[in-house]
């Protein structure tokens, strides 16, 4: 009886854990999108006020920030270091390799890819417009992601606990 009881508790604990971790994943995407906007703001400062070269700006952003999304910038800076790589290729590769890690979806990826197309190849005005445009698009994505999070977070949590309970009841 005690063994059965302990087993049931373990089962409920496990499913709840799964539910909670899935719920935590939901908050990852809006967080990443929010961080990206902040980093883009930093990039704007780097190139408009400090007039730094792109690779330099990227490394400075990476060093100056401890958010997870900064990996995009460090990877892109690393790619830029290789001979004959243009900014768009360097950025695209960085996005391609890291977007799943950052819990971003295909739509977010497409926006980031568009950002790469204009990167470094126009005058200051063009660069700033590009950054502003992408920031506003990311903002929209963030709002959407936030709504999804509110909806799904609760669902995953209760689903985790309840599914554990129901399996335990059936097996008893």
């Amino acid at each position: 009886m005690i063994i059965k009881f302990l087993g049931a508790i373990a089962l409920i604990g496990a499913t709840s854990f799964i539910g909670y971790s899935l719920a935590a994943d939901c908050s990852k995407r809006p967080k990443a999108l929010r961080e990206l906007q902040a980093l883009l703001q930093m990039l704007e400062n780097e190139i408009s006020y400090l007039s730094n070269l792109l690779s330099e700006a990227f490394s400075r952003i990476y060093e100056g920030s401890n958010s997870e999304t900064a990996i995009l910038f460090s990877e892109a800076a690393k790619n830029l270091g290789t001979n004959g790589v243009t900014a768009d290729a360097a950025w695209e590769e960085a996005v391609e390799e890291n977007y799943t890690k950052l819990s971003l979806n295909k739509e977010d990826k497409a926006i980031l890819m568009t950002f790469g197309k204009m990167l470094g190849n126009s005058d200051l005005e063009g660069q700033i417009n590009n950054i502003k445009l992408i920031s506003s698009q990311l903002k929209l994505q963030e709002l959407k992601a936030e709504q999804m999070r509110l909806k799904n977070e609760k669902m995953y949590r209760s689903l985790g606990v309840l599914s554990g309970l129901s399996i335990a009841i059936i097996l008893f």
């Binding site: 190139i47 070269l53 792109l54 690779s55 700006a57 004959g84 470094g120 190849n121 005058d123």
Partner: protein, 332 residues
């Protein structure tokens, strides 16, 4: 820095190739090393053949890296390749090179100049930007040390002083190259000429003398030299006078309006001047109002006339302020 070291640093592969788009770089990598080391220009034009200027003639470059005179064999450059090359040359930061692009050229590390052509965008009567590039001219910089050795003795006056000098020559005869070498010798001093270095200021309006990359001279213009890069001559001379206390100011291609006043101001402050001007001989210079006034005022103590008759930098004659010849080349 010794000569061989300098040569190595300035080679085409190290300075220029990293900034070329791989498709073009791979072709040029197949070109014979002997040719690469002596290239004068690499020309990229949209939808036109890839060309290089080598030993005073232009050549088409084939896909296999051979130089050819037959246009049929030539590799054709696409505009996209030019645009991408531009991005690489500006280190993926076109915005940071905006001012240079506006004036129609970039300076690469190593002092190589890249001329740009494309669609010019105007705003309020001023050039705002150049876009849709259709042509690049990569001019391989050559610093010829010692090319002014044969005329230093006409410029120096004892060990610490020099004559106010005007170097006259037609295009492509090495005026700027010689001016640069004079700057190095005057600034560093040279035991061979029994000359002690003096403080030198260079106003490098077109960034051709010192070829600054991000403010650092890429050519050796001497260690007592201060360079005002990309600055209009008249303003630059005044700024140097006021703040850097030079003993001599050097500048390229005088003859535009306002130069006379600026140069007289320099001379009145007791500072020497070495300048260059376009022209085939002194009488031609007198046709130009600004220069005639300068010549009349006796501003220059030495006129050095160059030509390219026996190769660039041939010394034609040296004349003093009274217009009597100090040296004249035998035309035999």
């Amino acid at each position: 820095m010794t000569n061989p070291q300098l040569q190595k640093i300035r080679s085409v592969e190290i300075d220029i190739f990293p900034f070329l788009i791989p498709s073009i770089k791979n072709i040029l990598l197949k070109v014979d090393i002997e040719i690469l080391d002596n290239l004068e220009e690499i020309r990229l034009r949209a939808k036109k053949p890839l060309m290089v200027f080598y030993k005073n003639a232009d050549w088409f470059v084939t896909t296999s890296g051979k130089l050819s005179k037959d246009i049929k064999d030539a590799y054709v450059v696409m505009q996209q390749e030019i645009l991408k090359t531009m991005e690489l040359m500006s280190e993926n930061s076109v915005y940071a090179y905006q001012d240079e692009i506006k004036s129609g050229y970039l300076t690469l590390r190593g002092g190589h100049r890249v001329g740009l052509c494309g669609k010019v965008i105007m705003l309020d009567g001023q050039i705002k930007n150049i876009k849709d590039f259709n042509g690049l001219n990569i001019r391989v910089a050559k610093e010829i040390r010692g090319c002014s050795n044969h005329l230093i003795k006409y410029i120096t006056k004892g060990s610490f002083d020099i004559y106010n000098t005007l170097i006259i020559g037609p295009p492509q005869c090495g005026k700027t190259t010689i001016l640069r070498d004079i700057a190095r010798i005057v600034s560093n001093g040279d035991k061979n000429f029994d000359f002690t270095g003096i403080k030198t200021g260079i106003v490098d309006e077109r960034s051709e003398i010192a070829a600054c990359h991000k403010g650092i001279p890429q050519n050796d213009v001497g260690f007592r030299t201060d360079v005002m890069d990309g600055c209009p001559k008249t303003l630059g001379m005044e700024m140097l006078l006021r703040s850097m206390s030079p003993s001599v100011i050097m500048t390229d291609e005088i003859g535009t309006h306002g130069d006379k006043e600026a140069i007289l101001k320099v001379l009145n402050s007791g500072v020497k001047i070495i300048a260059s001007a376009h022209g085939y001989n002194i009488s031609e210079l007198k046709m130009r109002e600004e220069l005639l006034a300068l010549i009349k005022s006796g501003a220059f103590e030495r006129y050095i006339v160059l030509s390219s008759k026996n190769g660039p930098g041939t010394l034609e004659e040296v004349v003093n302020s009274q217009m009597s010849a100090v040296y004249k080349r035998c035309s035999a």
